[in-house]
């Protein structure tokens, strides 16, 4: 189901699509905090210098400048590492969230980013941003999903946070894929077992699922691309027949995908058939230095370990 011919780094997709959108919509402008190359907004800066603003290593000011531009009718996109930009929480809370101004924040470098280590890795960003009134929060897993989410965000009159990881991934969607804010997407259907994930970790999950299918264990996959808004009822429908559920997220355990799943279950009055539910996450820890694939293995996010949870922890080995 993965089209690897279209394998691309999501931040590159973001950078290229931003130029495409900038050509169509003259209101789009971009603010960089000295991270044009790393967050791939450099192309936009080259093509539209008059709508590009380099504020330097000053994220708080950048967020305020974006707010002023948005209040004047522009569509400002401010990008930085997710951890740096969401770290300016009070500025986002007051200037953007409280004032309900459609500033578009792009946080790159979420999850296991590599050798730069924990200070640069976005592992609390979703939790922080989900807590803010008026904000919409999304995370794409594939190139097409990245484009569709950006198309939506540009049109939305709300402030948005989009977590875009740097991983190079293939495509899971057909060309006619429609992004619907709020709705979880059941990429692989299965009655009894499922994995729930978000972002590029989806691809580790797909590998794990194909590994499990060789062992005659059928496992489905639900992709949560829209974290806020979130359609709890849609997820409840997807989960009502499931017995074994594994949540996989490169984020702390509080206020991310795991929280959404547990809330869905807790909020529902109808009974579930769940026998096992486990969340694989950063468990309130920081990440550390290392190759992304080594970090994934070390923390148990590789496809082999994900598969192992089903046949060992969930006792599904036949």
């Amino acid at each position: 189901m993965i089209n690897n011919a279209k394998k691309k780094a999501l931040r590159n997709v973001f950078g290229e699509h931003l130029v495409y959108l900038g050509k169509k919509n003259k209101k789009i402008c971009v603010i960089s905090c000295d991270l044009k190359s790393a967050t791939k907004t450099s192309n936009f800066f080259k093509v539209f210098p008059k709508r590009s603003f380099e504020v330097g290593i000053a994220e708080a000011n950048g967020l305020g400048v974006a707010t002023g531009l948005a209040l004047k009718g522009f569509i400002p996109i401010i990008s930085s590492f997710g951890t740096f930009i969401t770290g300016k929480f009070l500025e986002i809370r007051t200037s953007i969230s409280y004032n309900n101004v459609p500033v578009k924040i792009i946080g790159t470098h979420g999850g296991f980013i590599g050798k730069d280590g924990a200070t640069q890795s976005g592992t609390q960003d979703l939790s922080l941003m989900m807590s803010l009134p008026n904000f919409e929060v999304f995370q794409p897993c594939s190139p097409l999903e990245t484009e569709k989410i950006l198309d939506y965000v540009i049109k939305s009159n709300k402030p948005s946070y989009v977590r875009i990881c740097r991983n190079s991934v293939g495509e899971v969607y057909a060309k006619n894929f429609k992004f619907i804010p709020g709705k979880p997407k059941e990429l692989i259907k299965s009655k009894i077992n499922t994995i729930i994930s978000s972002g590029p970790l989806i691809f580790n999950c797909i590998d794990a699922i194909s590994h499990l299918s060789k062992k005659k264990i059928k496992v489905g996959l639900i992709n949560i691309n829209s974290i806020k808004p979130f359609d709890y009822e849609a997820l409840r429908q997807m989960l009502k027949s499931k017995k074994n559920i594994l949540i996989v997220e490169d984020h702390v355990s509080h206020g991310g995908i795991s929280s959404l799943v547990y809330e869905t279950i807790a909020k529902s009055k109808s009974k579930f058939k769940i026998l096992n539910i486990k969340s694989l996450n950063l468990d309130g820890k920081f990440s550390e230095s290392g190759n992304p694939s080594d970090l994934e293995k070390f923390n148990g996010f590789d496809s082999k370990n994900i598969a192992k949870i089903f046949y060992e922890k969930f006792n599904l080995a036949k």
Partner: protein, 269 residues
């Protein structure tokens, strides 16, 4: 003669704005009196002399970054007939448009909701940049407190505006020399103001922030400025106009009782 009359009218309106502030604060039994009273002449000048909101859709922008002084702005909007007496009396009540700190989602004349200090100047820069792209000859004003400039974001913003020569941007620094608890010099010294802003490539003007001729001259200089952003250091008196509130840290946000309200009203006649 004409000039003298104009000045007289200006000061008389200032007294009226102050009386309405005191009325609101007494009715609400809360709010920030001292920091509201120090900015009255500045707001009076911008809104009644420069008439920046005369055509609201084509306005010069104004952000009150020291959001706790919003009673002064509400009083000005009331005296401009943009909000009515009934609305004014709801200040800080449940369901009011006139929140304890400004809220643009509830009152359209608020350009930015503020209250967490240090954030307004960056947004004023966004307005200034937008006006440059849109080729509009409109100004962007931002009023900050002297205590407020202890916030780091102010200096990120000051550095940006100075580096980009944003001549359509004007900061008014309400230098009432006091902050929440005591004098700025005893909390975290913000002096010397002039050298700091000049080093960030701003044109610096220092005036008596309660004097009409000095305010008038400073803003005229800003309108003529061709190269840099302007900061007007308005040397003011916290609690200006009411004897027992002047230069008193206690009156930063002390509640007005019946007796002090009566004295205050009499002093403002």
């Amino acid at each position: 003669m004409f000039k003298k009359n104009k000045e007289k009218k200006f000061y008389s309106l200032s007294r009226k704005i102050r009386a309405d502030i005191i009325g609101m604060l007494f009715k609400a039994q809360s709010g920030h009196s001292g920091p509201s009273l120090s900015i009255v002449e500045i707001l009076n000048y911008l809104f009644f002399e420069k008439k920046i909101y005369k055509n609201f859709n084509e306005r010069d922008h104004f952000i009150l970054s020291k959001g706790h002084a919003v009673p002064a702005l509400y009083s000005v909007l009331y005296n401009l007939n943009l909000i009515n007496k009934k609305e004014l009396s709801t200040f800080r009540d449940i369901g009011t448009k006139l929140q304890g700190h400004p809220d643009r989602t509830k009152l359209k004349y608020i350009e930015l909701g503020t209250g967490a200090l240090g954030q307004g100047l960056s947004v004023s820069i966004g307005f200034a940049l937008a006006n440059i792209i849109l080729k509009k000859n409109k100004k962007s004003f931002c009023l900050v407190g002297d205590g407020e400039i202890q916030e780091g974001q102010i200096w990120e913003a000051a550095m940006y505006a100075g580096a980009h020569n944003l001549k359509n941007l004007c900061v008014i620094l309400d230098n009432n020399r006091m902050q929440n608890e005591t004098y700025t010099t005893q909390t975290l010294n913000v002096m010397p103001l002039k050298n700091k802003w000049e080093a960030f490539n701003w044109k610096v003007l220092s005036i008596d922030g309660h004097s009409f001729p000095q305010i008038d001259e400073a803003f005229k200089k800003f309108y003529l400025e061709k190269n840099k952003p302007t900061v007007i250091i308005a040397n003011t008196i916290k609690g200006k106009g009411i004897s027992f509130m002047e230069n008193s840290a206690a009156w930063h946000s002390k509640v007005l009782d019946e007796k002090s309200y009566k004295i205050a009203k009499e002093e403002l006649v």
